[in-house]
Symmetry: C2
Subunit: 214 residues, 2 copies
């Protein structure tokens, strides 16, 4: 069984959103073999570092939290769309010529997975693109950027997706999987009351018996 790991490794020198220092993870030693029989570490990390899922509270005061996202939306049929031709931002027109199955979680594979642009001029989703996905009836949207949008006043992509109850999966690495359909497994850490959480996101082959998965 082929397993695609579509997560970014977590390390102090990993790419972070716009290169912001407060987004860097800090791994420290809690106990090592000089002071005891076991080695233990502690991790300090912004919840929007690396591969993570956003819930509505990230954008909407009083919005839904990560622990309330149904597992069935993030362990789900998934379409990886090849958008490597896009050079700046993904619009509704870019999406309209690609196959999107209603009910699928949609992952946007762009040049971000291939070039060193994650901290800079990364490809992002426009408000119009987000609206198109909502109208397609997708279960959620993910992208190979540390944010699904950048520098868009009012955060329309976040607002449209999260406002429609669709979780947003950010910080993916989609270099390896070709466009196509998969079983996405992207359950976040179940952090009670949080607006986001880290995810080890995987793509598995979609079993024949699950191809009509509701």
């Amino acid at each position: 069984m082929k397993i695609y790991d579509i997560s970014l490794p977590i390390a102090c020198d990993m790419p972070v959103y716009k290169g912001k220092p407060d987004k860097r993870p800090v791994l420290s030693v809690a106990s090592d073999f000089t002071i005891g029989p076991v080695y233990e570490s502690k991790l300090e990390m912004n919840l929007h570092t690396g591969t993570h899922l956003d819930a509505a509270l990230h954008i909407f005061p009083g919005g839904g939290t990560i622990d309330k996202i149904p597992l069935t939306s993030v362990v789900n049929k998934c379409s990886v769309l090849d958008l490597r031709q896009v050079t700046e931002k993904i619009t509704a027109a870019d999406l309209a010529v690609r196959p999107i199955a209603g009910g699928d979680f949609v992952l946007l594979k762009t040049r971000n997975s291939y070039e060193q642009i994650l901290e800079g001029q990364f490809i992002y989703l426009t408000g119009g693109g987000a609206e198109y996905l909502v109208n397609c009836g997708v279960a959620g949207a993910g992208i190979d950027a540390l944010g699904i949008e950048r520098n868009q006043p009012g955060h329309p992509a976040h607002r449209l997706l999260l406002g429609a109850g669709l979780p947003v999966l950010e910080g993916l690495n989609l270099k390896e999987p070709p466009a196509g359909r998969y079983l996405l497994v992207a359950a976040p850490l179940n952090i009670i009351g949080a607006e986001a959480a880290p995810v080890r996101a995987l793509l598995l082959p979609l079993p024949k018996e699950w191809q009509c998965l509701e």
Copy 2:
């Protein structure tokens, strides 16, 4: 598709190993709507808090790290064994009368999932029990306790399992899934160089076409 979430929710009042205060997670606000347009949190957590996977470095100086554990060992066929009759510790004799398929990841379901004993006198695995599992050719072992053992001099259960290259999955909640076979999805956060990492562990139905999964 039935999805069993076998993870402990992460919260400041969650059960932690022996109730140690330094094992409690701390969730703090990095940014909220009083200072900007988005809400963001930061998590500070020992890597052995809640549901997590141990790698060899946890016990062995220079041992393997969590980022080197093959995904195929933790996204794998899995057997949940019903050990609720055990009242103190799981021995080889307890395991010998239960079905264990070589190659499966084995999860030990005990009274820990039903009683308020996670921070105290929880059920654990003996060295003899760990040796039995290694000899069965399992792919790894998990338990519904925050440690797979407690108060065993020299940590024989950890040493035998991790020494044989088998990852150890701790902090499960196995109350819901009945004994039987499943597809385990327990990929840890990919923290480079760490001795352990948090996991959102799930059990899915084992697809017919994967029942002979190698």
